[in-house]
Amino acid sequence: MRPIVLTAVLVLAPASISAQQRIERRIAVDAAASIRIFNLNGTTRVTGWDRDSIAVTGSVPPAAGRFFMGGTGPAAKVGVFSDSAAPAGADLDIHVPRGATVWIKSFTANVEVSGVVGDIDISSVTGSIRVDGAPRRVTAEAMDGTIDLTTRAVYTRAKTASGAITIRGGGGDITASTVSGIIRYLGAHKVITGRLESVTGPVTFEGTVMRGGTLEVETHDGAIDLTVPPDQLADFDVTTFAGSVTNALNRESPVVPKGKPVRFSAGSGGARITVRTFKGNVRVGPG
């Protein structure tokens, strides 16, 4: 039996390798085209470039489904389509015009986007999402997958059930929400409107809230760590019912009894920062 199996493997293996569909396709689109990308399993890498065209390279095994690319001018669709409930993974490397609006749908596929300055909208289930560059707006949603955004976006939405969310650099309007994942906001730009919320996951905020802006951080039992610049002007409203508050910003009340709201101001006419947690510990301190 064994030689027969070995022979079968040797005969069939090259056939299955050669059956991998190699993709190398290109179409012309507008510089600000709207591009929809589907690749449920495998990897999807999207890179913005200074050409008015979409170029795709990659490999699509037969069990992954059928590769499709179509559209011209203002809209295009690229992806691997399958009727199978569990298609094999395809690897796609896609170049799009830098100013395109990009919409990406994934299931387990890991998604990476860089160099796009238009809007980006990515949905995944367990695949990770990573965005770099200066998109105008970013929306990323996953269940278990992690979300890692290193951008200069002025509008960011990130949501998971249990995947970790890390946002570096983005400012303006920020919302990050998770049930049991962690949230880390490490902002290089000022937040105008920010909301970070989790149920059990810890939340870390290191950044600046713009004068007149608002930041709300809310958890049930996730710890909250808030680091703002020493010169941050803000009215703080911090409440934890069963956790502790460590206030390293205001020397008058460095440690606050449990269950008591803490209100203090740094300067006047600044931002409004609200922190609420049921039993998470809160630390507020200068960066």
Binding site: A85, A86, K105, F107, V117, S123, V125, T126, A134, R136, R137, E141, M143, D144, R152, V154, Y155, K159, A161, S162, G171, G172, D173, S177, V179, S180, A188, H189, K190, I192, T193, E197, V199, T200, M210, R211, G212, G213, E218, H220, D221, T239, F241, P261, R276, T277, F278, K279
Partner: protein, 203 residues
Amino acid sequence: MICNDVRERLDDYLAGALDDEMRLAFESHAAACPECSADLGAANVLAPLTAALPRSIEPPADLWSGIAGRLAPRRPARWRMAALAAAAAILLVVASSAATLWFVHSRGEPVPIANNSTPAIEAGYVDASAALFRALDSERSRLAPATVATLERNLAVIDAAIAESRAALAGDPDNRALAAILWASYRQKVALLEQVTRLADQT
């Protein structure tokens, strides 16, 4: 001035806090640099919109009839129907409670913080969750077992948080911050159900 200088000073520029020399340097760089110009354009659009957002929104008297009117003829996807119905249920309850609070407060009377409105707001969230559960049940077979497991694990986390907050609020019904934490957990539950129902619909 280089791009990093512009990015660091963007908020101060929008707030009019730069001196003339710095403002001129900022504007001349932004005029010559496409990326900084795009950043500035986006921030210029966003800042006034954010500043103009109302602190509270008065619900129109015909809120539900307006939503219902839009639901019927367009026959949206099942999850969208459920999500809209869920949103409407929450909006109606929260808006009417907020309106009551505003009315009482504007008359200079003591504001009933949480105890009067809590059952109604909670009923809104419970109705919303139920509508989404119904939509999800009919699509559940389309979801991968791992997705269902993640959903159930996280729903258990949220339900435990809700139970804990509810118990605390029952002992301190006027505590507005406690109520806010409870509503936040309910919002998470509705948002998670919406997310998974949408996934099922797209699969």
